[in-house]
Amino acid sequence: MIRLALLLVALALPAAAQEQIVAGMSQNRVSITADFDGSEILIYGAVKRAGPPPEGVGPLEVIVTVQGPSTPVTVRRKDRVAGIWLNNAEVRVDSAPSFYAVATTGPLDHILSDTDNLRHAITIERVIRAVGITQEADRAGEFLLGLLRVRTDEGRYRVLQGKVELTEETLFRTDVILPANLTEGEYKVRLFLLRDKRVIAHQERVIGVRKEGLERWIFNLAQEEPLIYGLLSLVLAAVAGWGASAAFRLVRA
């Protein structure tokens, strides 16, 4: 397996040496403040070549992926039991990203081969490592599809085919919208150059997403001093309750 991988890397090297990615991003950190309502990241770049574009090969294609922090998740399916719909079966998925966007210059199945998708884990199905779930439920594939559907509906998983603009096989750019329900952590940005359905160069960047200001303070207090946080919430509630009562009495008097 490792030998096969090495061989593939060796085969890919000559092409990779010819064309390389020079990339940039409009920002490499996102601050979640109280008025955070999603963020748009511009990812752009150019293809660096030693000489003129190679001849006798297919057109250049670009794929950009943005991947949020991953966690294990449980996918449950409802079934009708005695007339009532209830959670009847579940499958544990070892690792699923909280956010994943794939932007491409064209339809994925036209520009990317299965082998390279497997090797670089580009599509969301490949990213989700679902190791051993087949033993847990007889229709694990359906659970995986269910997971993809639910998260796509939530705007967490996006496939943006044809959303990367490529000019003269040299300059490319794409906008990736990070949704308002963003999770804190490191967001991995990957850029791939492809020809003839094969990856010829790739690069990785990181966007740091962090809560700032009041959001940071509340979150830290809740995590580090939960008892104080809980009591503070109560005091807040009691004071607000008393305050409203007193204010209304003043208004009436």
Partner: protein
């Protein structure tokens, strides 16, 4: 105005939250229920994760109950003796409820268990209240009809350990209030609510308390139950969202004050008929969810970082 909630990790409209809090506070002030059975499903609906919705809902109920109790206090609508007795029963019941909840979680059917208890208890209590209050409303329309006594002497009055509840004008055994408190505490722990919607009818029909002190006493007890729940959630799962709670509270306390005043204008029968309809509506809504095929059969359970 969009606002990002630090614990729930979603961005929602601040005015929507103020409005939600206001509506639930209004109900709470008018009927003497904490509003937990309304706020939690409403928060699910706007996309707040269930664990955060339950915990933060409890925190909001503390505020609206404090506001409501203070309003009731001025019109001498709180029976403190009864409140403490109910609370003692409530704590015992709540401890048992938490234990049963753990057993159900281990069995993997806690969602169904919670939903079924909502349907059964809300449906049962709503139907009972509706039938009773409709009958007394019709009776009030017919002058000259025989007047039924406020509370009839029954086996309840034969029990030992009698105690004087001055504000309620009752001299009864402490056993029924303790049992009512325990039942409410048990259900509250299972359903994640303050339990006012069970407490209010239980006080009226089981204990025979006058409607005047029922709402204040119920709110008084709810403050402590929900305060306990809030701190427990904050410590064990860090799911109380202060920002979310603050907005719900701001709307809620104002709503509770208005609700209390509107409630004072309405007749007791009208109030009970409205509350019973509300309780029935929530029960039917949850029952429909259980019976109709959901549009999405799959669900993804939390565990976001």
């Amino acid at each position: 105005m969009q606002l990002y909630l630090p614990i729930a990790e979603v961005s929602v409209n601040a005015f929507l939250l103020l409005g939600l809090g206001g509506i639930v506070g209004f109900m709470s002030g008018m009927f003497g229920v904490g509003g937990g059975f309304l706020i939690t499903p409403l928060l699910f609906f706007i996309g707040v994760p269930p664990a955060v919705a339950v915990a933060t809902g409890a925190n909001q109920v503390v505020a609206s109950s404090v506001s409501g109790v203070l309003a009731q206090l001025r019109r001498k609508g709180v029976d403190f003796t009864m409140g403490w007795v109910l609370l003692v029963g409530g704590i015992v019941g709540s401890a048992i409820g938490i234990w049963v909840f753990r057993l159900m979680t281990a069995a993997g059917q806690v969602d169904l268990f919670v939903q079924l208890s909502y349907v059964i208890f809300l449906g049962l209590i709503g139907a009972m209240m509706f039938q009773e209050s409709l009958r007394s409303l019709l009776r009030a329309r017919k002058p000259g009809a025989p007047i039924r006594r406020a509370h009839v002497h029954s086996w309840v009055h034969g029990l030992p350990f009698k105690m004087k509840f001055r504000a309620s004008g009752l001299y009864i055994s402490v056993i029924p209030p303790l049992a009512v408190g325990a039942l409410v505490g048990f259900l509250a722990a299972i359903m994640g609510v303050g339990g006012g919607f069970i407490m209010v009818p239980a006080m009226i029909y089981l204990l025979g308390m006058p409607t005047k002190v029922v709402i204040g006493t119920s709110l008084f007890q709810i403050i402590f139950v929900t305060a306990f729940t809030t701190v427990m959630h904050a410590v064990t799962s860090q799911t109380v969202d202060m920002m979310l709670a603050l907005l719900l509270i701001l709307g809620g306390v104002v709503g509770a004050q208005i609700g209390t005043r509107v409630g004072m204008r309405l007749k007791a029968e009208q109030l009970r008929i409205l509350l019973s309809l509300l309780v029935l509506a929530v029960s039917v809504r949850i029952a429909v969810d259980l019976l109709l095929e959901p549009s999405e059969l799959y669900s993804v359970a939390g565990a976001l970082p």
